[in-house]
């Protein structure tokens, strides 16, 4: 197990990195709801472009992004192939018309609408992926916890994110130690060298001690938190949550406008139930 270092533990220096946790979480929630609620490629293209620009402004490691994008696209392609094999007319059902382009067999026809549906669904996956990655690259664990708390999640639940991500490096270190000690006793864990049964045995022999030893620490960590007064009051403040700056205020207004537009768009979708936008 090698961590791909996606989680940031210290804030970056770009303008978007300096936003408050609450603003980051709000922008993420609103954009994700908009992306989930639509199947209109014009909106999805706009979201994709803005998310890509926001991600680029963070100056991320593009090699990691392309590798992750490849995995996401691979999974999406497998899903699309399964959809097609199961129902070749899936696009026609969403668009409302059916224009056959060619056919592989008697059953496996390829309507233009199905190709359109596949393109829009892929765009939706890309948009979701870029919005998700933006949050992952821009937020630190404490900002995530503070952000969720300030948008309404109880602080004990918000702290779960902070504590969990803070323990990620420790658990990875424990995993490496357990794995090394098991391999020293002769268990082969190389991915290409072993059978499926041996791989499963390897997973179980590492995971069970890791799980049990981690839960043994619960009392110690809880005592440390109690000694620092955790849970004493109904509310708490966050060290990382600074007063709003100019950019925070602009982004808050933007999030509010986007939320209103998303709500109106969703209401329109529920009342009118329009078919998928199809320009041809």
């Amino acid at each position: 197990m090698t961590s791909n270092n996606l989680v940031r533990f210290s804030p970056g220096v770009t303008p978007l990195h300096t936003l408050c946790g609450q603003v980051k979480v709000l922008l993420f929630i609103v954009t994700i709801i908009l992306t989930i609620s639509t199947f209109d490629c014009r909106i999805l293209l706009a979201v994709t472009a803005v998310a890509a620009a926001a991600l680029a402004s963070l100056k991320p490691n593009w090699k990691i992004i392309w590798a992750l994008m490849l995995v996401a696209m691979g999974l999406n392609t497998v899903n699309l192939i399964l959809f097609y094999l199961f129902n070749p007319h899936i696009g026609c059902e969403f668009v409302g018309t059916c224009t056959e382009l060619f056919r592989f067999t008697e059953r496996l026809v390829m309507p233009a609408e199905t190709l359109w549906y596949f393109a829009v669904r892929t765009l939706k996956v890309v948009a979701m992926f870029l919005v998700s990655l933006w949050l992952i690259f821009v937020v630190t664990p404490t900002q995530l916890a503070a952000g969720f708390n300030r948008v309404g999640l109880p602080y004990k639940l918000s702290m779960v994110f902070s504590i969990a991500l803070r323990y990620l490096p420790d658990l990875i270190k424990d995993y490496k130690n357990i794995s090394a000690s098991i391999q020293a006793r002769g268990l082969e864990l190389g991915r290409k060298k072993t059978t499926l049964k041996a791989k499963i045995e390897g997973v179980v022999s590492i995971a069970v001690p890791l799980i049990l030893s981690s839960f043994d620490d619960v009392g110690v960590i809880a005592d440390a938190l109690d000694l620092r007064g955790f849970g004493k009051n109904k509310k708490r403040t966050w060290y990382v949550e600074t007063p709003y700056g100019r950019l925070d205020k602009i982004c808050l207004v933007l999030a509010a406008v986007l939320a209103a537009l998303t709500a109106a768009y969703m209401a329109y979708g529920v009342i009118v139930k329009p078919p998928m936008w199809y320009p041809f």
């Binding site: 399964l82 959809f83 979701m128 890791l210 839960f215």
Partner: protein, 190 residues
């Protein structure tokens, strides 16, 4: 809150918060790093076992939240984007799996009888099937306009695999934990 309500919600003290946090990150680590891929969005991992332990120690709602946040964190550290249809499915799976205190099992105090083990095994097998075949595909269809049947096939594979894992590894693990906790004290209830 009455007895059953308290058992469902659990006692939200610092220990529970830490237990849920460690459960969530352990589940994420199992899903991202210590796993063997099987089918699209389905892999062999011991993530369900983590939820079994959270449920046994803290109750259904903490187990549900650990499963839900664990899936969110897995999407985060895995970097493949957030899939909230599966996150919601995991919430329900965690809740049903974590019902142990409701039918009398108190693993933390060393109580886990054979009857409770049988009840747990059935629920642990049924929970992922309900969550991943019934709930996740509905949200997949609603949010991604996917085929319900394909989502259900994925759900069956994930459900059977997670259910077997939770039942086969969970029962002996809970027995072991109960025995260990029973031996920790020589006090008897009068």
């Amino acid at each position: 809150m009455n007895g059953i309500g308290r058992k469902l919600v659990g006692q939200w003290n610092t220990k529970t918060v830490v237990g849920v946090a460690l459960g969530a990150i352990l589940m994420a680590i199992m899903m991202v790093y210590i796993q063997i891929p099987i089918f699209t969005q389905v892999q062999f991992s011991l993530a369900p076992v983590v939820i079994v332990i959270v449920g046994a120690l803290f109750g259904p709602l903490p187990a549900a939240i650990a499963a839900c946040f664990g899936n969110f964190l897995a999407d985060m550290i895995g970097g493949w984007g957030f899939w909230f249809d599966w996150t919601i499915g995991h919430f329900f799976c965690g809740f049903i799996t974590g019902l142990l205190p409701v039918y009398g099992a108190k693993v933390g105090e060393g109580v886990f009888t054979n009857k409770q083990a049988a009840t747990f095994a059935v629920l642990a097998f049924v929970a992922p099937l309900i969550a991943f075949c019934g709930i996740t595909p509905l949200f997949t269809m609603m949010w991604y306009q996917g085929e319900l049947e394909i989502g259900m096939v994925q759900g069956v594979i994930a459900g059977v695999k997670d259910g077997l894992m939770a039942a086969i590894i969970g029962v002996p693990l809970l027995k072991m934990m109960a025995k260990k906790n029973r031996l920790k004290t020589n006090l008897t209830e009068e």
